[in-house]
Structures are given as C-alpha cells and as structure tokens.
Amino acid sequence: MLNLINLAFSLIAGILLGYFVRDKKRFNLGGVTFGAIVVLIFSLGFSIGSNNELLNSLPRVALNAIVILLLTILFSVVFVKMARKMVKIE
C-alpha cells in the first residue's frame, strides 16, 4: 500500500513541476526516460530470473495459463473497447 502511495506521489509531484515550468522552456527528456526504462526492465527481468518458484512452475501450468490468459486479455480488450464507445472516451 505504501508503494501505491509513493508512486502516486511521484507522479503528482512531476505533474505539478511540469505545470509550473510550462511555457518557460522546451525540455527534451526522451534520453532520461529511455535510460530509466532500460534500468526498470532490467531489474524486472532480474527479479523474474531470481524467482525460482516462478520459473519452476512455468512448464507445469503453461497450457492452462495460456488458455486463461488469452481469454482474460481478449475480454479485457473487448470490454474496454465497448466502454470507450459507450461513454465516448477519446
């Protein structure tokens, strides 16, 4: 729960900062984002690779997992698409 709050706080702090410097200067933060994404994805991979429980269970449950996953994602996308049409979110 603390993590949820930390993340929301960082995002809001960023938005406020950006809002106050608006019109002042043009910023190009693409490089920073890219670097941080690489670090983030690497550490995500690292924790997956270190997680034996997860890696061992993969082959055993793979077939059931794929069926459930595909249906879960399919209906999520269909429902979001329908909802976007109904309430007209751009």
Binding site: L4, I15, Y19, I37, S43, I73, F79, A83
Partner: protein, 202 residues
C-alpha cells in the same frame, strides 16, 4: 524501442538467474528492489513532468474527466469473465480460475494470495498467468496499440501504473499517461479484494 526492451529483459532474466544459481554472489535486492524502485520513481516524475508541461494532454484529460475510471472497471469485468470461460473450457475450479484472472497482471500478489485461498497448484497458475500478462503487454505493444489506442492499457491491467507504464506512454502518447496510471492504480487497489471476494463465493 521494443527491440532494446526485449534484449534488456532477456539480459535481466539471465543475470538474475545466474546470480541465483551461483548463490546470490551479488545481493539481488539491490537490483530487484532498490534499482527497480529508483528507476520507477524517476520515470513517474519525468513522465508526470512532461504531462504537466503538455497543454494538449491536460486539455484532453479534462474533457474525459472521471469517465476514464470506466477503463479499469471494464478491464476488471473482462478479466474475471475471461477467467470464468477459461475455467469452464479447461474443466477446472471456475472460482480459482476467476481469482487467477483477478490478479490483473500483479503476479507477486496473485501467486501467493490465490495459493493461500485455493492451494499451491492454483497459486502456481496465478503466478504464471499474471506474469505472462505483464510480459505479453510489453512484448506485443507495437501490435496491440493498432487494435485500439487503449488496448495496451487493457492488456496491462494492474501493471499499467508501474512496469508497463513507460512503454505504454511511448506507444500511446503522453495523453494516455493518466488513463493508464489511474487504471493500473485502481486495479491494484481492487485486486486483493476481488480475489478474496471470489474465494468467498465458492
């Protein structure tokens, strides 16, 4: 972009795996915890900053308003329905399969929680389904964004507030930031409750 992400992911998995089999020569917590949290917080600050400085993005969000909360609830309903149908097709406990889907991609939650409520076998399934959901969101994003602008947000479920958020913003644009973040945030909040509620139904 996606090429670099995939290569980095594979390198990360290999590094984590090797470090683990060689008995954690390097304290893994530095990478999987500190480095992860640091880069995530930095990303949120930077993405928030770019959003705040972008007039158009804010105007678009203002127009949509609270309606964007429709997105996470559609993802939640769609996921649980997908879990139900999947359970019926496979002939397994449908409550367990619905609970698995109600992890919304948050595998470190869904694995242990479903395991505790439905037994170890389903815990493993909860781990795998939700882990693959996160992985699939990242790896297929360049294709899924063509189905619908918010299809990657639906794919990502609860992960769109952290791990998959930067990739989504890259592909769906800065105005998707708040929709994706609030969707992931809402789903992360309701995931433990939906899983426990589904377990209570059976």
């Amino acid at each position: 972009m996606i090429k670099y992400i995939l290569v980095t992911l594979v390198l990360g998995v290999a590094a984590g795996y090797l470090n683990h089999i060689f008995g954690n020569i390097f304290a893994g917590i530095f990478v999987s915890d500190y480095l992860f949290n640091f880069s995530l917080i930095l990303l949120l600050l930077v993405m928030g900053f770019m959003f705040g400085a972008d007039k158009e993005a804010a105007a678009k969000l203002k127009k949509a308003g609270l309606k964007i909360l429709v997105v996470p609830f559609s993802v939640a309903l769609g996921s649980v329905l997908g879990g139900l149908i999947g359970g019926l097709i496979l002939g397994i406990n449908v409550f367990a399969s619905m609970a698995v889907s109600a992890g919304y991609g948050w595998y470190t939650l869904a694995g242990p929680l479903v395991g505790q409520l439905f037994g170890v076998e389903f815990g493993a399934l909860g781990f795998t389904v939700n882990f693959l959901r996160e992985l699939l969101t990242i790896t297929t994003i360049s294709l899924t964004v063509k189905i619908d602008k918010y299809a990657p947000v639906a794919f990502g479920g609860a992960t769109t507030m952290d791990t998959t958020l930067p990739v989504i913003v890259r592909y769906c644009g800065s105005e998707a930031l708040i929709t994706a973040f609030s969707s992931g945030f809402t789903l992360s909040l309701i995931a433990p409750f939906t899983i426990t509620a589904i377990a209570a139904l059976q």
